[in-house]
Amino acid sequence: MKLLESLASVCASGGARSGEAADEVDGLLPEVVAAPVTTEEVAAVVGLCAATKTTMLARGSGTKLDWGGSPESLGVVIDLSGLNGVVEHEPGDFVVSLRAGTTLAALDRELERAGQRLPIDEVVPNSSVGGVIATGLSGPSRYLHGAVRDLLIGLTVVRADGVVARSGSKVVKNVAGYDLAKLFTGSYGTLAIVTEAIFRLRPRPRAERYLSATFADEAELSAALSGILASQLAFAAVELARAEGGGPMTLGVLLEGHPDALERRMAGAAALLGKCAVSDTVPKEWGQLPGPVTLKIAVPLGFVPSLLGELSALETTLAIPLRIRGSAGVGILYVGLEPSTDQASFAELLQVLRSSVGSTGGSVVVLRAPASIKAGVDSWGPVAGLELMRRVKERFDPDRRLSPGRFVGGI
């Protein structure tokens, strides 16, 4: 039987079809797109791929396929968008278990009814939970509520050999066994395929206030930012944005709390920010990535102002417009560029940044870019512990069937 027919036979309701242009990942056309809708079906699909030595790539909503390195080969796209919905949500436990294809937006609609939420921002619209886990993509809320890895408490995965394995549990406090959810978060689908996840939840805030202020230079911004980080006002998020071509920088802070108490806290925040605008909601572009080409820069908190200064200087010397946005309170800035950016200048920007950011102990990663831009550079840069990571990959996926080439060091 041909692969397409075999895969169709194990995907009872979702079926399988030949790959089309829209299924391409960095220019690679998959032979087949299979759409399993249960963990067991995913296991059957993976088992068939393993038996026929076929490479696989898991896809949720397909919003981040140009992220990470380009895959080396692509036999089957495993479309998990039909593997969706909440499995269990007991509001009193503040825990939800759900299938990987569920979108963050759909989950939020469901949790809203119980006055709860999963405090992971929808950084990329229409993201599925599985994709967010695979890329470890956290937004502004991580400042107070933690990153994806901190909120994820249990996982069901299908291994490269088709075996189904669980780790963690549906109780928040649990130290039984290795915390494999940490290992799989941000692994870009190269170790196993996530089919179900369990998250801890938070109550929806009773009220929110968003304050923002603009600053003409890094020194002014630096003073306000240190004041905010050292304050006891318990901000929920501390975000920063700067348009391309220099210009003023915007610091936006979010407060969550009791409506009566918020007024007093706002006064404290305004004193730190200076002249500021106040709103009941966050701006529309809250947490979104700044461009079709995006660099992710992580530094120790205190280096954010000097990094901004360096980016402004590079913008001038390399003549590349840079749009900047990020979680200043966490130490993460995203830099957006246009896909038309000159390749040589892009490579130089990356090299200069990696050298200076590296000296602070931070990292610069090409988060997303078209294949043409990624081709000339190492998307990930230097990685501490790479040899051990290769050994981990070797144990979990010895034949390199899961998204080969997409991760650090060509894993």
Binding site: F94, R166, Q232, A298, G302, G362, R395
Partner: protein, 489 residues
């Protein structure tokens, strides 16, 4: 194959050449002082103890042990409650207690860098002058070490709001079983690559030995308010907890003690909890003053509505300490009302707490043994203390049976066999009740990547060690532990 004894002799010879004499313990009486950790009924005298002073020392010992095929176990302060630091009879115990330098308190980057032997509370003490603190606060925080906290992913009363060790560690320096020194993470977030640091935290010393830790420091809250509430019974106290959580309040801690636990704490430290209480709740709120004051009023309303007969607000830091003193000394206090006891550490979904408590009560009556309950009510983490008298024939076995049935009750309600004490040696057999063979096999893939020879704290966590398929025949047997376990279960 080399006999274990010959390999040990070779290790000792090499280490004598490479380490100063005061770094090695070989005297049998002195070795005996390391035979157990905080769970004292597992006792194994190590063949050799190394008192490491630096990551270079650790690297040396791990490399030499690796070459000779000799197992090794890391130990911090030895306060663990699951036997995770129980030595190997034919192996080396690497003690990290001398590595206790606080290398850096860095308020600008909100980080501290410390050696593994530093006591948990000393990090907060060192950060306090800058207005910062280290959030995870296990009850043993005055003595337990950060290295041990990393190994066990320790929690504490305040993890309800702030999370566990794993949420507060941002960098590790670790000696891997192949003798390499790795820096994972640091002061910056999100290092690229697999989250090996996340996998190491809570791996109970089986994936490597941590020699330096970078942790997040949090800004000290503006206000802390502590409330003590007395109830007729645990059902009423449980109702109060449910309604506090349900309306979306997030206290820093919600702790409950039942009548027997209160009795023990009174006998030991005279904590003066409300007289006649069948249960007390300790609720702590922290954050901006205005939020805390508003929330405290709400918490008090919920306690009243659930039938609290006495509410006591700590008005001074001394009163706050007094309230916590009773709770934090509860485990040891039980020694005042019973010659022996077993501390259990199970977790249930919070909504299952009332029915699980009733079931524990029933099991306790059936067994004819008293059970004191002390627990983190906010997150469903139970610490039932099974009271018994080992001098009465058969009572130890009965107590162990009861303790393990309590754990099974937790599992039946979808919970966990351990919320913060770890699996160690103590709960190895329970792992097979919580996880299927494929789950355990998958976890051990990770172990095989780090430690294919199974030398790094062997026989802990997993009921059956996985053969890693490389260099077959070099897996070291562990008859001592196997025999120990067979005796216990």
């Amino acid at each position: 194959m080399t006999r274990p004894q010959d390999a040990l002799v070779a290790v000792l010879r090499r280490l004598r050449e490479l380490l100063p004499p005061e770094g090695l313990v070989t005297d049998s009486a002195e070795l005996r002082t390391y035979e157990c950790d905080g769970l004292t009924h597992f006792r194994v005298v190590p063949a050799l103890v190394v008192l490491a002073r630096s990551s270079a020392d650790v690297r040396l010992v791990v490399s030499v042990c690796g070459q000779e095929g000799v197992p090794y176990v890391a130990r911090g302060a030895g306060t663990g409650l699951s036997g995770g630091a129980v030595p190997h009879a034919e192996g080396v115990l690497i003690v990290l207690a001398k590595m206790r330098a606080i290398l850096e308190i860095d308020p600008a980057n909100q980080r501290a860098v410390v050696e593994p032997g530093v006591a948990n509370l000393d990090v907060s003490r060192a950060a306090a002058p800058s207005g910062y603190y280290y959030a995870p606060d296990p009850s043993s925080q005055q003595v337990c070490s950060i290295g041990g906290n990393v190994a066990e992913n320790s929690g504490g009363a305040h993890c309800l709001k702030y999370g566990f060790t794993t949420n507060h560690v941002t960098g590790l320096e670790v000696v891997t079983p192949d003798g390499e020194l790795l820096e994972l993470g640091g002061k910056a977030p999100d290092p690229p690559g697999y989250d090996l640091m996340g996998a190491l935290v809570g791996s109970e010393g089986t994936l490597g030995i941590v020699t330096k830790v970078t942790v997040r420091l949090l800004r000290s809250p503006e206000t802390v308010r502590t409330l003590l509430a007395g109830f007729a019974d645990t059902d009423a106290a449980g109702d109060a907890v449910s309604s506090i959580i349900a309306v979306g309040l997030l206290p820093a801690a919600i702790e409950m003690m039942d009548a027997l636990a209160i009795e023990a704490a009174e006998a030991a430290v005279g904590c003066a909890y409300p007289e006649g209480a069948g249960a007390v709740l300790i609720v702590e709120l922290d954050g901006p003053e205005v939020e805390v004051v508003t929330a405290l009023a709400e918490v008090e309303q919920h306690c009243h509505a659930a039938g609290a007969f006495e509410l006591r607000r700590a008005a001074t830091p001394a009163e706050r300490t007094q309230i916590w003193h009773g709770r934090k000394s509860a485990f040891a206090a039980v020694g005042r009302i019973s010659p022996d006891y077993i501390v259990q550490d199970g977790v249930v979904p919070r909504t299952a707490l009332p029915s699980v408590l009733r079931e524990i009560n029933r099991l306790s009556k059936e067994a004819g043994l008293r059970v004191a309950n002390v627990f983190h009510a906010g997150d469903g983490n139970l610490h039932p203390l099974v009271l018994f008298d080992a001098s009465r024939p058969g009572e130890l076995a009965l107590a162990e049976e009861l303790s393990s049935r309590i754990l099974e009750t937790c599992l039946r309600h979808g919970g966990s066999i351990t919320g913060e004490h770890g699996v160690g040696l103590d709960k190895v057999t329970s792992m097979a009740k919580m996880f299927r063979p494929d789950d355990l096999d998958t976890m051990q893939l990770l172990r095989c990547a780090f430690d294919p020879d199974n030398l790094c704290n062997p026989a802990k966590i997993f009921p059956t060690p996985r053969l890693c398929g490389e260099r077959p025949g070099r897996q070291s047997p562990h008859p001592i532990e196997v025999a120990g376990l067979a005796e216990r279960y």
